[in-house]
Amino acid sequence: MSLPTGSIPFRENAAQAIRNEALRAAMRNATGVFAVKRADAVSAVPLEEWRDKASETRLQVLDHLADYVDRFAKSAVRAGATVHRAKDAETAREIVACLLKDHGIQKAVKSKSMISEEIHLNDYLEKQGVTVVETDLGEYIIQIAREHPSHIIVPAIHKDRRQVGKLFAEKLGCAYTEDPAALTKIARAKLRQEFLSAEAGISGANFAVADSGSLVIFTNEGNGRMCTTLPRLHIAVTSIEKIIPSVADLPKFIRLLPRSATGQVVTTYLSMITGTRKAGEATGAKDLHIVLLDNGRSSIVAGEYREMLKCIRCGACLNACPVYQTVGGHAYGSTYPGPMGIILTVLLEGMERAHTLLDATTLCGACADVCPVKVPLPRLLRRLREQRTEMGLTPTMERQGMAGFGMAAKSPTLFGAGQQAARLLWPLARKIGVKGTLARMPIPAEQPFRRRIS
């Protein structure tokens, strides 16, 4: 599948989102709840110490990423898995499709995975005639609505209960209800049949452990466990930077991920899958295939944005971001929204397409405050803006204005002249003003301060 061309119309999307009252209310509710829960969950723990240690471990992996990938692959194979390396999205999709075809499988259950969103796996498999059933309730809602997730942890965060009720009534043919518990029961019954009959399970992984070859999956609903233990074939699609060195490193991340994501001490289920079902065992897929996606990460890790790959996809920076809170995830027009999403999208999809997202931040820094692995999000955003300028992707007017600013800033005389000109031209400029911004600012003072007192 080719990506849409042109750059993402973020401002237009955002302007539309702002007028959508239902969306605004849903986002306000959800991000507000998350902020409170997270703050509660980290209030009585040595958070700074945890963050430093977790960040250190992530950097340790990134410093030797290629080695860690090899180590993980070796361990996984030793435990009985088959490991596939996919250099890009297309390769990864094909590997999954081929595996299903080889096994003669036409239907798979799937637990939530952002990597599968990144590679647009579902669309691709459907075109190949494979039915994919999303089993995470949020993903299921999104799937039957034929939408894309608007949050990396809570895919249907933008929908309220009435919208879900209507959707279920329409698509599943059940009686309308807007009671979340009743809606959950309906989905449970539908999906239980799917689990029991599915021959393949597709999952992602929150972490991959180099020394043991284990995949670690966090879920609350239990769908991750079901997708990975019930069907005979399990395909896990994950990206190379999810690797951590050893089992002993897990506690660091178990302590931080759920707390940062949903404010839970730990998710209800934390599954660790190591290889395939052995003789005498009654659990585990008979066939486990792990697809390790690179998709640009090997080159990102070698460059100045490497720290972005420390990210453990907790979603805390989305919840904390005033822009995300206001416009929701779809406005970003990308797989990953919010502060981490802006950076990842530029890195994964290219500056030409994603440079508009670089304006989706006030650089307030609220994201960096909450990031459990200390990704320096504002600094990376500023660097990417510099790169955008160097690539000549900013508007001509802005470039000329900045060039003028640069000259004036180093010459007090020119600067003074500029102030005077601004004062004189302001009334006129205001009328034709740049998107009305000048109208939102006061008129320059008759005499600048320096002149007044000197």
């Binding site: 302007a15 650089l363 820094g365 640069g406 939102r440 006061p442 600048p448 007044r452």
Partner: protein, 242 residues
Amino acid sequence: MRVQLFVTCLIDTFFPETGEATLRLLRYFGVDAVLPTEQTCCGKPADSGGYRYESRKAAEHFLSVFGRSTDPIVVPSGSCASMVKNHYPELFRDDARLHAQATAVAGRVYELSQFLVNVLKADRAGLKGRGKITYHASCQLTRELGVKEEPLALLRSLDAAEFVPLPSADRCCGFGGTFMAKMPEISMALADEKLDTILSTGADTVTGCDHGCLMNISDAIRRRGAAVQAKHIAVVLAEGLA
């Protein structure tokens, strides 16, 4: 004691009365505040906009003007103070000479409330105020400079004024420098939400340490016709001087 005052281009151009209030305050505490007249802008708009070349021009100029003396540099703006303190060294990451200069100057920079409290102990001077005041904690001041308590200490110390805390005080007001111009819809939506919380406190004045934010909030106030005023903390404090 002598200090150099960097008044910031925003105050210089649009809010000279804030510059005057800053001077009066410093003088009240016996500080000899020198205003280098060749000062222009710290380069923040270019820096956050991604114009490294231009922001370096501004930064080099700043270093040459304020590097002449070793007196402390007082800045009535959290974001401009942070620009000099935190971003200059980053800006000159590949130029050893300028990096050294930037680091030296960075060590002498104080945001106004920081200087007033930590150096002048102005929160123990029994300054006067009036009305009911709430406070917006601007982003760079709070997160980059780590100045959280100083403005609160000053405002709480005011005689005859009532300080009311602002809910989610450190949530962004939507100014964001060039963001205000490039994403006006979101900028206004955030300013509107900020105004909602301000009005919920019943304060008649909202203050802060950054004119950028106060300008954005003032615009929200104007659009809604709300009966509250946005004033720089220097003005609030100077109003009570004899």
